[in-house]
């Protein structure tokens, strides 16, 4: 932790406000980010957000590699959204290069994408319960989530980083003999969904902690360009799958889910976020079922040979935009391909948390320090998606010295303990 953030203004307890730092390392945060809260008693009157602790320079690295390598890199932007980024990225490149994707591949991409939404929303629900101090719900939810992880492993071979999409198609099929596993998992979720809704939405203590906490109004959501469940909880009917269909979503009538679908007026608070996410799990189950039942036959890739694919991509030039509705909201990738070069000329990645960053401010203001964890969690932040670039620091920079000093101290201690 940065030294000046620890620097407590001890003598100032009597003063009107004092500052409490949360992060970059804090039990409420699953990934590093720093909030500085100005508090008046327990009430938050000011907030400053500093992301950037998980920069890895992915776009920079991607522009130094060929497209297939960049695809693998895109998958590693984030472990939870490990299909969302490749889906957006492959679409962007396919749009730029004018490559067709066979129908079967489109459906398989959709299935994996929706399975990711199921596991991601359940993960979020568990984290949310934990932030509320309701660990029982955390353990039960994550137990239920395992089923979708198992299914993903069964279908793709991996629990995360599925390596399914590739330019012009998908790398693996969903064979007919595995379909029954998927149906089993879907039935399991269908039977549990009502229980989940009861456990979260009809629980008094959850309601007490989430109703009217971290509210984002309809206008704020639009003004601050919020995306995904964060915007939809405020009643903004924005969902890429509905607004600008792609892949198999174009064959289905998908509607953006807002709290109105649960029969309540959208308030944009944490409770509404829970509603939207749980109902989206239900929606995803429906989508997966449709895709499995109507899975078209045919090839998996329009250009099945990787050397041929690379050659085609090298020849291509143009710009492309790829969008995908990730569990957390809109992912958009912009690429420019230059003819005769294997690398990407330009690659811009935008993850949902990047858009929702600004939405945190109105959500925090006026609420209590006790609400910080659940509000922070309410947008389902994904720092590693957002912070894609870590570069170096200017030499002699204060932060660097801090870091070097910390590393030195920690090594010294390790040596001391080891004798």
């Amino acid at each position: 932790m940065n030294n000046d953030s620890i620097n407590l203004k001890v003598g100032q307890c009597a003063a009107t406000t004092y500052t409490v730092p949360v992060g970059p390392v804090h039990p409420a945060l699953k990934e590093p980010i720093r909030f500085s809260f100005d508090l008046d008693g327990e009430r938050i009157v000011g907030v400053d957000i500093k992301p950037g602790f998980a920069h890895r320079g992915i776009e920079y690295m991607g522009m130094k590699r060929n497209l297939i390598q960049a695809l693998y890199l895109s998958e590693r932007i984030c472990g939870i959204c490990s299909i969302s980024h490749p889906l957006a990225f492959t679409q962007a490149v396919e749009n730029a290069a004018g490559i067709e994707v066979p129908p079967r591949a489109q459906y398989i991409r959709t299935i994996i994408g929706e399975l990711e939404r199921v596991h991601s929303h359940l993960l979020w629900a568990g984290v949310g319960a934990h932030e509320l101090g309701f660990d029982t719900l955390l353990h039960l939810t994550w137990n239920v989530r395992e089923k979708s992880m198992d299914l993903l492993e069964e279908l793709t071979g991996n629990r995360v980083d599925y390596a399914i999409p590739i330019f012009s198609g998908v790398r693996r099929d969903v064979p007919a003999e595995k379909a029954h596993l998927a149906y089993e998992a879907l039935d399991y979720y269908k039977s549990l969904l009502q229980q989940m809704i009861d456990a979260f939405l009809h629980d008094k203590s959850v309601e007490m902690r989430t109703r009217d906490v971290g509210a984002l109004t309809y206008d704020q959501a639009i003004e601050l360009c919020a995306v995904g469940p964060t915007a939809r909880a405020s009643g903004v009917k924005k969902d890429v799958r509905q607004d600008m269909p792609y892949l198999a979503y174009a064959d289905m009538d998908i509607r953006a889910i807002t709290p109105a679908d649960f029969g309540t007026e959208p308030r944009g608070d944490v409770y509404d976020n829970i509603i939207v996410r749980l109902l989206e799990v239900q929606q995803s189950i429906g989508i997966i079922e449709y895709c499995l039942e109507n899975l078209p036959s045919g090839e998996l890739m329009s250009i099945p040979k990787v050397p041929a694919l690379l050659a085609a991509l090298k020849k291509a030039s143009g710009e492309g935009i790829g969008r995908h509705e990730a569990p957390r909201g809109e992912v958009i990738h912009y690429v420019r391909l230059a003819e005769g070069v294997e690398e990407l000329a330009v690659w811009k990645v935008k993850a949902p948390t990047y858009s929702n960053l600004m939405a945190w401010v109105p959500k925090f203001l006026g609420d209590e320090i006790a609400d910080v964890p659940i509000i922070a969690a309410s947008i389902d932040p994904c720092m590693c998606c957002m912070d894609r670039v870590h570069l170096a620091d200017a030499a002699g920079n204060k932060t660097t010295r801090m870091k070097e000093e910390l590393v030195r101290l920690s090594r010294e201690k390790t040596r001391r303990i080891c004798g």
Partner: protein, 175 residues
Amino acid sequence: MNVENLFASFKHALGGAYLGDRTIERTVGTIDPGKVYDLWITVERDSFHNAVAHLCTEYTPHLSVISGDDLGENVALNYHFTVGWGERYGEATFTIRTMLPKSDLSIPTITDLLAGAQTSEREKIEFYGIDVVGIPDSRNLFLPEGATIHPWRKDLEEETAKEVKRMVKWEGRNE
């Protein structure tokens, strides 16, 4: 989404500063194919703020992200908006592109029109060294405080590489 009307209204509002447009039509869906559109317009930098203001009065836009492209002499900025969200097939991406010469990398902020643009504008400041005039908060967002390199600038590649090497060496050093 009436593409012709949209372009015409911008042409009318911007006059000579409207440098051109492009429509990419894509077919989606395997059973009942539908059409989606990627729309692009290019505007003069001086009229850029007017263009966004016009967009904000005529539509309820959503800013997805701002991307940049170092073209050597110039840096192109692509403001990737989307318009028409809220109904099925209602949305199209709408990108406003403008060129900034390297000698004068500055652009007016659009946070007065769309507060949510701040994150992306701050990112452009640190990664391209662009001066966003009038932005309420211009601190580094992703790079550490005080970092002065601009990693996505191709002409500053060497400095960036030097810093990356220094960092890699430092992270991996074995005392």
